[in-house]
């Protein structure tokens, strides 16, 4: 099944709850936007989006970049995710993340990502992630797991 990014954002309950928006999509690169919302704030005194929300958008954007490169809904899973927090996010501003899958092997995908605010050059965070890539599609993986638990 060919990859359709909007499905990944709307059919995933947490991505939908976060209100993630697709800003831009390329053959191996994706940009997502996390709109500012009060429920995502870490410290009400500053109004800054929580670092945990940043890790969520990083994880989603990196996974989407792998799907963009694969161009199909194969089952993938994050092996590891590293985030460097470069500076605090600006209060009351949405966060964008651009993720690029720069290497894809038969079993593994390598991704790098940056988080930033629109029209501001200073970056909020850097991330790198490694994903395992299955030969199975998501549907086949789900059927296999169901079979194993019966």
């Amino acid at each position: 099944m060919k990859f359709r990014p909007e499905l990944f954002l709307t059919r995933s309950p947490h991505n939908a709850a976060l209100g993630l928006l697709l800003d831009h999509m390329g053959p191996d690169k994706v940009t997502l936007e996390l709109p500012y919302q009060e429920k995502l704030v870490g410290d009400p005194e500053t109004g800054v989006i929580s670092g945990g929300a940043v890790s969520s958008i990083m994880d989603t954007a990196c996974g989407l970049a792998v799907y963009a490169k694969l161009d199909e809904f194969r089952a993938i899973s994050t092996l590891d995710l590293r985030i460097d927090y470069l500076r605090p996010a600006t209060p009351r501003q949405s966060i964008l993340v651009t993720a690029e899958c720069y290497r894809l092997t038969r079993h593994v995908a390598f991704v790098r990502a940056i988080a930033f605010h629109r029209d501001q050059p200073e970056q909020v965070a850097h991330a790198s992630a490694v994903f395992s890539v299955s030969a199975l599609t998501m549907v086949e993986m789900a059927a296999k797991r169901d079979k194993n638990t019966k």
Binding site: S12, N15, D59, A75, R82, Y85
Partner: protein, 146 residues
């Protein structure tokens, strides 16, 4: 009440179980702080809104990351007597097993080194089997210096 005030208000010597009402994002994720047999454990109560991949269904990796990070910040703030909150510098997460829907996630942090400026913290997350963690994290936090 700020997170700092919340941590200093925690009863010193009895077990407790409280939601993290001072942090909107923690309430969005359904996080609670418990002291169980003297140890602080952060719990993410399961809800359908935590699911990332719908097929096969699994808890969103970002929420697990947030749970790990919150546990580390609270453990470190508690050790600092929460004079002010530590700041996350970096975070490295290994995802070992998928987070299964329908089950709560738990995280416990351990400070491996508390320095004057930086703390190094390791965190484990699990669901119903502590010996089969779903994720591990390692973080460096800045504890002093503005």
């Amino acid at each position: 009440m700020t997170l700092s005030e919340f941590i200093t208000s925690l009863p010193g010597d009895v077990d407790f179980d409280q939601p993290l009402e001072c942090i909107p994002y923690a309430m969005f994720l359904g996080l609670r702080l418990r002291r169980v047999s003297g140890c602080l454990v952060t719990v993410m109560r399961f809800s359908e809104d935590l699911i990332g991949s719908p097929m096969p269904p699994a808890i969103h990796g970002g929420t697990i990351g947030a749970l790990l990070e919150t546990a580390a910040v609270i453990q470190t703030a508690s050790a600092m007597a929460a004079a002010h909150l530590p700041k996350t510098i970096d975070l490295s997460i290994d995802y070992l097993r998928p987070g299964q829907p329908g089950k709560d996630c738990h995280a416990q942090a351990h400070i491996t080194r508390m320095g004057n400026r930086f703390a190094n913290v390791q965190v484990e997350a699990w669901q119903d089997d502590r010996s089969a963690p779903i994720a591990l994290a390692r973080m460096n936090l800045q504890v002093a210096g503005r």
